[in-house]
């Protein structure tokens, strides 16, 4: 199945692709030496949005699990990382443990949530973040509505450190997503998206694949939540648990193309570019993105990548 997009007869194309990927990776790892610090921050945000939208895409794009509950998992990641850091656990381990807790929660929630189909699933996830937020702002251990703050960051903490962290996470998530969407599971998820009952009929264990997609989505979202909180060194419960995170991921994925591997790349680039150029105008970039989203939904629901595929008859994953 691995050679789905890269024809195995054309070994040269495959080698070329791997080579290009390696060059890009090398370039990205040496980026802090080349460009200005502000560009590093923008690239950090690019990878944050990329991972966020990739994880949303796995559940909401390939499969039909349109989730608005990413805030819940992001919040768990952020709080776990911070609380573990206070008790002396290194940041990287904290992020992974937060991801683990999110995975457990997602697994527990998947059983009841998957009884809901389609639109009902979406409104079910909508309440998750709000419930966790209301719980946590009432518990003094979690800092209440004031949130948590890291007063003494570790000595190696810097923008460049965060950049490398986001780069690593972004590359891992890209690699994982690529492996998944070109594997049997990717086909299964696409089947479920087009018709759940029919795919069950042809012998796909729809429940298991949906659980896998939901769990992976929770894992990467949780890590990104931790990373976003580390960037500001502060957790604000009203922001981290809000639906805004999912909506941003959703807009990015839809603009790039739902259920395509390269869609989130384009979407994140547009998102970061718009928020950079319109930074003076407060939230104007989200208004514009919303308008773009409506145009995309109405006129080309397959997204920019999908439109390219159709127009030039390409096979872009």
């Amino acid at each position: 199945m691995d050679g789905m997009y890269f024809n195995k007869n054309k070994q040269g194309t495959r080698t070329l692709t791997i080579l290009i990927t390696l060059v890009i990776c090398a370039l990205l790892f040496s980026l802090p030496r080349i460009v200005a610090p502000y560009t590093i921050v923008l690239t950090f945000y690019f990878f944050v949005y990329l991972t966020l939208s990739h994880s949303w895409n796995l559940a909401g794009g390939y499969c039909n699990l349109i989730s608005l509950g990413q805030g819940a998992f992001a919040g768990i990641g952020a709080y776990t990382t911070f609380l573990l850091y206070f008790s002396g656990v290194p940041i990287e381990l904290g992020l992974i443990i937060g991801g683990g807790i999110s995975v457990c929660l997602a697994f527990l929630l998947s059983k009841p949530l998957f009884r809901l189909r389609g639109v009902y699933f979406t409104i079910g996830t909508l309440a998750l973040g709000e419930i966790l937020k209301l719980l946590i702002i009432r518990l003094p251990y979690f800092g209440g509505s004031w949130g948590l703050h890291i007063h003494s960051p570790p000595p190696y903490y810097s923008t460049i450190y965060l950049y490398y962290l986001s780069l690593t996470i972004g590359l891992i998530s890209c690699f994982t997503m690529f492996k998944i969407v070109t594997s049997k599971m990717g086909w299964a998820l696409r089947c479920i998206r087009s018709d759940e009952d029919a795919s069950e009929l042809v012998g796909i264990n729809t429940y298991r694949y949906k659980v896998y997609a939901f769990i992976l989505h929770a894992f990467f979202t949780s890590i990104i939540g931790g990373l976003l909180a580390l960037y500001t060194l502060h957790i604000e419960p009203y922001t981290i648990f809000s639906v805004a995170l999912s909506i941003e991921a959703l807009i990015i994925t839809l603009i790039g193309g739902r259920g395509t591997f390269f869609g989130p790349f384009i979407g994140s680039a547009i998102m970061v570019a718009l928020s950079h150029f319109l930074a003076v105008y407060y939230t104007l970039h989200l208004v514009i993105l919303g308008v773009i989203m409506i145009v995309i939904i109405v006129f080309c629901p397959e997204g920019l990548i999908g439109r390219l595929q159709k127009r030039f008859n390409l096979k872009i994953p």
Binding site: I131, T283, L286, I294
Partner: protein
């Protein structure tokens, strides 16, 4: 005491029913899951607020402007939505509403900043007593408005010709079409009425609570809770659902402190969605 919790719960329940009525109407009779409900409601609140602040319009008088405006916005929006939803999946419509809500929320943030706003009317400021319980008069007005709106909608749906036609198109559009009912026009009226009720609840929210551009999600979740509890396509279910949530919330607040009011209703929402998505009085699932 306990009786206080009960009375304020019932009044809150009627307010919740008012907030949910527009949502329930559009979901039950036009099959549009209006995820932008909260933002549209908050826009009505701001409309009322600025009429009050800039032109010192009485909020109750401003209903004369706000209600027709909202009705026609809904009336024409439905036409556009219908054209689109005919050729797309239900998810497409859902995503469209998410986009609308994002746009509205961020326009709100852009224009009015996340400042908390509220309207205080001096002649409605001092609390009144009902069976020894102090209730702000605005809450009482909100509750009574909720009851009246539910009652009028019920009469409208059961007694008038247009109401019966609206119920028919929600049950079976094809049969309704063969009976000579203009399906899209009736849908437009139903959606316009849903917006009208949304505008009304926005004005009431502006009178009762503080609001900012991002507080719409709370009202959306309240509406979702009430509708899931009461059942789709049932206007009285809306009232019963609202009152159950209101009483549960205020009794919870009586035992655990005031913060749990919303928490309890969201938990009720999730549990209800999982065990009985049809609701207490619902005729059908989505």
């Amino acid at each position: 005491m306990f009786i206080d919790a009960l009375i304020s719960g019932i009044i809150f329940g009627c307010i919740y029913a008012l907030i949910a009525s527009g949502f329930s109407f559009s979901l039950g009779f036009t099959k549009m899951l209006n995820l932008a409900h909260g933002e549209i409601l908050i826009f009505a609140s701001y409309f009322c607020y600025f009429l009050f602040r800039l032109f010192s319009f009485d909020p109750f008088l401003s209903l004369l402007i706000i209600l027709p405006v909202f009705f026609f916005v809904g009336f024409f929006l439905y036409k556009i939505l219908l054209k689109y939803s005919a050729k797309s999946s239900p998810e497409g419509v859902l995503l469209l509403f998410i986009a609308i809500s994002t746009i509205l929320q961020n326009i709100g943030l852009l224009l009015w900043l996340p400042t908390q706003r509220s309207i205080t009317l001096e002649h409605l400021a001092s609390p009144i007593k009902i069976f020894g319980t102090s209730i702000p008069p605005t809450y009482l007005i909100g509750g009574i408005t909720g009851l009246v709106v539910i009652f009028i909608l019920h009469i409208f749906l059961t007694k008038t010709k247009i109401g019966i036609a609206i119920r028919t198109i929600s049950q079976d559009p094809e049969i309704a079409c063969t009976c000579g009912i203009n399906v899209s026009f009736m849908g437009q009226i139903a959606f316009g009425l849903a917006f009208l009720s949304c505008g009304l609840s926005g004005v009431m929210v502006a009178l009762m609570f503080t609001f900012n551009p991002v507080s719409g999600i709370n009202y959306l979740l309240i509406a979702l809770t009430v509708v899931v509890l009461g059942g789709l396509g049932s206007i009285f279910g809306c009232l019963v659902g609202g009152i159950i949530i209101g009483i549960a919330g205020s009794i919870g607040a009586y035992f655990f402190g005031s913060g749990v009011h919303l928490l309890i209703s969201y938990i009720v929402f999730l549990i209800m969605l999982l065990i009985k998505p049809r609701g207490l009085f619902g005729r059908y699932v989505l």
